[in-house]
Chain length 343, copies 4
């Protein structure tokens, strides 16, 4: 596609839950656009800004040194009403009025549904950049924000280990990822947790409280007294970590303490991994626009930049890495299968 | 007291909830004892180790480079049965058998009750070193562990601010300190929280959900949209941060998310403040033993080393710093009294 | 002084080397001023801004959530020409034109000389807030920034210990503080360094390379192989840590590696200690203005807010804490005096 | 190869410069060995331990919760004399005496030369695990330790940015990687450095001081005043960061400050990336032994586990990622080619 037809103005927005590294992606897009002499219009509060015509132009000076901060300087939000045809049509009008030829949407699968919906009512180019801590977007090995969320969960688990070892206690740390166990699995392995409860595992065969108690006792039997740290993905136990620890203490006489990390996993300085990934994907998004791509998400797969169609991002599912699951669940399991009594 | 009568062997133990810096105190005691040619016997799992005769001798080689880690290398535990006279008598026997003339107890007010109880059945010297994150021990401006707990709570609040700003949301972070608001007050001021709910404040006039909602709305009115972060001390709201945020969202349509830091506040590398405080108090404890002191707690008050009688540590109450309370509650309150509508 | 005569406008500036917590002080001043219905005019780049009339008005919205970042949003700079009478007179004129009745200077002793110089040519109130990582300002137990610098130096020393232990090596970490050993002493104690070279110690009797080598060998003799970490204050060895480590390796066959922390000690999130200290001193500065104080520096001494005359801040010297020096140098010295061979 | 011939005892050692994550690799190997009912003999201080017969048996209890610490619990060292045939033969004898059938060497290319040398005099299986912060081992996308070194360099650069912005100053941060610019490139991009000086770039056309000065001035011209942060790989400028900053200040009147990170880049808690990579490679090494593999290094390439022959690890060169180099050097360069005046 000849550059002559490249849009001279591109729009960007961050949508859905914010993710560490979104600012690095915004910066990369603005710097790449400047490099290719394109203008960047940023819409505030996600698709809301597109409907409310709440926007500003971003130049390199706006994005100097924002990449070390989490959050998003153009704010993010969810926008339920964008599902309506009228909204997509209105957004298309506003984009046309602003003479914007391409829109980059930074967010998760929900945001990409919105972007896809828009693309059906607007003839501009729509490009996605995966930004969510849950890593539950199909087509990319990592989403922007995932690495930082894992780092924060791991840091919390390390801290818990110190006190757990001092008191020989059981602890449950609830992490994010209601539909995907990526944060849970990776932080559990990184921190050497004794047990993890993940959506993918719960779907197959949900753990009973008895099974949990049995495992705790076996680990204690193998090691002698010691600490036991469990990673629990949100929404995988009724009442979460608080309820589960109360159950263990009240019903089974096991002193247990909960932690609920919540949105802490979305803050602090993004990891180098997230900053560099966001930078590469952001630049790539701009270069894809110049090449005439439309309705695709930028992705990093097997170490290489690639694209995936917008529909795939939510219609297909990212599986948990088989080998990590096997290692953490079997090989690193303090209770060896062979040693486990029958029943 | 002439040095000739200085005991040649001192015992130490860490008791109650562990606190960051306990290892630094252990190290300081062992190095000071070595300096003065005293032996150190460490009892494991607090007073339990004293009753179970579970102990080891500690030399400088045991404590090299432990001061950068939280927890306690000699483990800690609660020991309800130590309240019994028989236990104190048994402990006294064991100490005599081991030819130990002085015992250093590192812990909080509960541990000092135990230490005091022991002192009534044993003629050795009992010295306390304040180690608890809650800072709720009378007579010292800071306890070992307090500074680190505040640092961790502040770090969590900083992370929450990033995402709160990106989404213009309300967040509640539950911190430790069921009887004392020190962690809550200092972390709230350090992180610029909009609101704090502390035991000391709740005692006077408990906040209603309406008052909370009103304040949130006023802050939004003053600032225009924005983030709102609340620090909640544990046990100050039925159901804690989880219940309060559900209430705000369900009953008042205010999207709100909770975090429950729990024991994360007890781990990670201790702050320099805690390491240095623990070092000074630990050395001082050994020097007090050489001076013949008995049944006192080492303390740092107004920047100077001092002692306080064991009884005072739990019978008197550490008040929250008036000026910090005034500043955070009035001067830094986003809603100026003068601007507040009547009623 | 009756409030009626309280100036309605106060100026602020940050001068000299920046220090973590300066933003927290700025925020506190702006919020306190707002609380008392005063206006705040901030001059950029220190005294330069006063001469160049480079300023802006600060309101609470400008300072929301800046307290978690180091640096200073109004920039800092050194301003040699401010020593001249003409400069002070010009500054006085500009302050009068802006109808500013009081000026708060946040900085170190150099900045306070400037502030004092100004006070001799201007009839407004001049108040200082101690902001420097070196803690070398007389009259306050801590300056804003000192705690954070120590925390960063300690963190670096902790990291060095990991690799030093793995390789049984000698390391030298150069920290800031050319005239005062506060950062060196406190970080050395907090990290359990084997040796420290501080200005105060070097003045009395400078260490020879032979004395350093001898100590390293004795520590190795006492402990058997192991790591050895030295803290070196800047400007205390010709060529600094780089030269000293080359000397040790080349002349004495001791593999040794240097680190030069430099300005890293001035960045990152300020510690809670610095944020709270800056907040209290900032508010206090505004309240002192309302009370009619002039030409004093706000200080925290023995845990209480107080003031010290501007002249004292640089004419008197802050001594190193005797007890910390004794503990780190004698009690924690791996080589016991008693064990040391003569000569 | 049938499992019947799997060696029942494997040896491990860590060699050369230590790297964060080595402990995680040791733990993974011990847990995997236990899982497959193999014994693990660990040699201390790298190949030295093999020659000195300095070893211990490692069981799961030895490696509980070591994965959160940098360094290596079995110590590392360089061993020049291992180059000699006699040494390899002696090592082979000791391995035979201990009835060890396979040896896992964790280290960098130098260590793999040693491992290869051994394999020519010993009929056991030799397997390598890449552990070095420099990422300069051919065949794997990342070595264990690389991610942590980048994280620490980035954190230092973030801190420098705070103070650099406050003072509008030039700073030079010297990072590790004398032969490979991986740490320099990735940390520079992650922290948004204005300039980087890397071995790979210096080889093609070394920068002159004039070129550096010109770039600094152009950036200032484009942005107006502001901070300028340069990342310098070690050994790429005579005298390093200290000399270069003195040159800039003395010869070109540009106030500039240096930092020399040194071994700080090897300490602190390893990143989740390094812990997980080390865990996967460690387990894989044990499973390769069971499959009869010999004289290969475990590697992670394009997200998949694979092997590379020992010789390749040092005979071939890992190139810097082209796209990152292009982005950081051109697209993120504050001075646009198009804007640059001729000459």
């Amino acid at each position: 596609m000849s550059e002559s037809t490249t849009p001279q103005r591109i729009g960007i927005l961050t949508s859905g839950g914010d993710a560490p590294g979104m600012n690095a992606a915004i910066r990369a897009i603005v710097l790449a656009a400047d490099h290719y002499d394109l203008e960047v219009i940023a819409f505030r509060h996600g698709f809301e800004g597109l409907l409310e015509q709440n926007y500003l132009q971003l130049t390199p000076n706006h994005v100097q040194h924002i990449l070390q901060y989490s959050g998003t300087i153009i704010k993010s939000a969810r926008c339920p009403r964008f599902k309506e045809v009228a909204s997509a049509q209105q957004a298309a009008r506003h984009l046309a009025e602003l003479n914007i030829g391409a829109l980059i949407v930074i967010g998760g699968d929900g945001s990409f549904r919105g972007a896809h919906h828009l693309s059906q009512h607007w003839d501009g180019q729509v490009i996605g950049v995966p930004g969510t801590i849950d890593n539950d977007v199909y087509g990319t090995d990592s989403t922007v924000g995932y690495s930082t969320a894992v780092a924060i969960a791991m840091d919390a688990l390390d801290k818990i280990r110190d006190t757990a070892d001092a008191m020989d206690r059981v602890f449950i740390v609830e992490v994010m990822g209601r539909n995907a166990g990526f944060i849970g699995l990776k932080s559990a392995m990184a921190a050497g947790a004794e047990r993890m409860i993940l959506p993918e595992l719960q779907r197959d065969k949900p753990l009973t409280i008895e099974a949990i108690v049995k495992h705790i006792k076996r680990v204690e039997a193998v090691r002698g007294q010691g600490s036991y740290v469990m990673v629990l993905s949100e929404h995988q136990w009724p009442g979460g970590a608080v309820a589960l620890s109360e159950q263990l203490e009240a019903e089974h006489g096991m002193p247990c303490r909960p932690c609920l990390l919540g949105h802490i996993q979305r803050g602090g300085p993004p990891t180098a991994t997230d900053r560099v990934l966001a930078s590469e994907l952001g630049v790539y998004a701009v270069e894809l626009i110049r090449e005439g791509a439309r309705n695709v998400m930028t992705a990093m797969r097997a170490g290489a930049l690639t694209t995936v169609t917008m529909e795939e991002t939510w219609s297909k599912k990212n599986p948990l890495p088989e080998n990590l699951l096997r290692i953490q669940h079997e090989i690193f399991n303090p209770v060896k299968k062979s040693r486990q009594p029958r029943g």
